[in-house]
């Protein structure tokens, strides 16, 4: 028997609005349909992954009190709070068997004990055969504070805009791979790849079906499973799997 395949752990970062959630949600569903056990983590404090996964927008969160402040040691996860058990207990179910955990909305829901426990789950959840996919907050802040470090593959999603180019440049120190999204023509793709010196894992076309799915609050994979963008994300999923092994 060969060694177990390396776990696929992916984080999505971007400028905001470039398509992290749409792509991350679709990737989770497609991985699950290929037989992967998937844990989807919505780390964005303006959460949106649930909708892209095709579930009600009220996501499942960890309760407060799973971490506490210890004299001289700062915040610590309480004894017995094992990542796998926390996932079993608190993660919601999405279609195709995807499990989903959400950090929570700002302001209000993200108190320190929840943040500490959530990060603990991200970094310590190691169940053989499971894939982790995280959708981070827009911009550079979370990524710069190590919220993508759990992942082996840190995908920066770039669209053809100048603002996206600017943010993508700022994210270069943490990102490992590039996905070009909302690609309208060959020159869009050239502009993105010229601006970003990272390995390209996928080029997803601009697809009106995704915009329409968003208007209706549906997951793209449920609304338009055969649309060009969904076909392109299948290719992205294949490359992600290859890249992880």
């Amino acid at each position: 028997m060969g060694a177990a395949p390396a776990a696929l752990k992916v984080a999505f970062v971007d400028k905001g609005g470039a398509g992290k959630s749409a792509l991350a949600g679709t990737v989770c569903r497609q991985l699950a349909r290929r037989g992967h056990r998937v844990l989807a983590l919505d780390v964005d404090t303006m959460p949106g992954l649930a909708v892209s996964l095709g579930m009600p927008p009220e996501g499942a969160r960890l309760p407060a009190g799973l971490a506490e402040r210890v004299e001289g040691k700062g915040w610590q996860v309480v004894k017995g709070a094992r990542p796998a058990q926390l996932v079993d207990r608190y993660a919601a179910w999405a279609a195709d068997g995807v499990r989903v955990l959400e950090l929570g909305k700002l302001p209000g829901q993200v108190e320190p004990s929840v943040t500490v426990a959530f990060r603990h789950v991200m970094e310590r959840f190691r169940r053989p055969g499971w894939t982790l996919v995280a959708d981070l907050a827009a911009g550079t802040r979370q990524a710069m504070f190590g919220w993508a470090h759990f992942a082996r593959i840190i995908v920066v999603v770039a669209d053809p805009s100048a603002k996206s180019a600017l943010t993508t440049r700022r994210l270069l120190p943490v990102a490992t791979h590039l996905v070009a999204n909302k690609v309208g023509c060959a020159s869009d793709l050239e502009a993105i790849t010229a601006a970003v010196p990272l390995q390209l894992l996928g080029a997803i076309p601009y697809d009106e079906a995704l915009a329409e799915a968003e208007r209706r609050g549906l997951a793209p994979i449920d609304f338009a499973p055969d649309s060009p963008a969904m076909i392109a994300t299948e290719e992205l999923v294949s490359r992600l799997i290859r890249e992880a092994s």
Partner: protein
Amino acid sequence: MKIAVIGKGGSGKTTVAGVLARCLARAGREVVALDCDANPNLGISLGVGLDMTEQLAGIRQSLEDGGVEHAPTPEELLSRFGAPAPDGVRLAVVTKIDQPNPG
């Protein structure tokens, strides 16, 4: 008159703020545009270009790093790390951007 533009990521805050600033300036008002985003890009919507937008964020960061002494008055701050934008708008980045290398 002081206007703040807020909303969901990607919904058009920066675009609207940029257009508002330019329109108000064209209507004869003196306009200061403040980029309060930790990932500042208002310069692009105002039309100062990619390089100047990046430069402004850098100047703000060096202020945080102690490269430049804090100036005492808002006017001095503006003249130090503000930049002229089209239609006479003045643009300043007021948030600290994060260090590129954590840990």
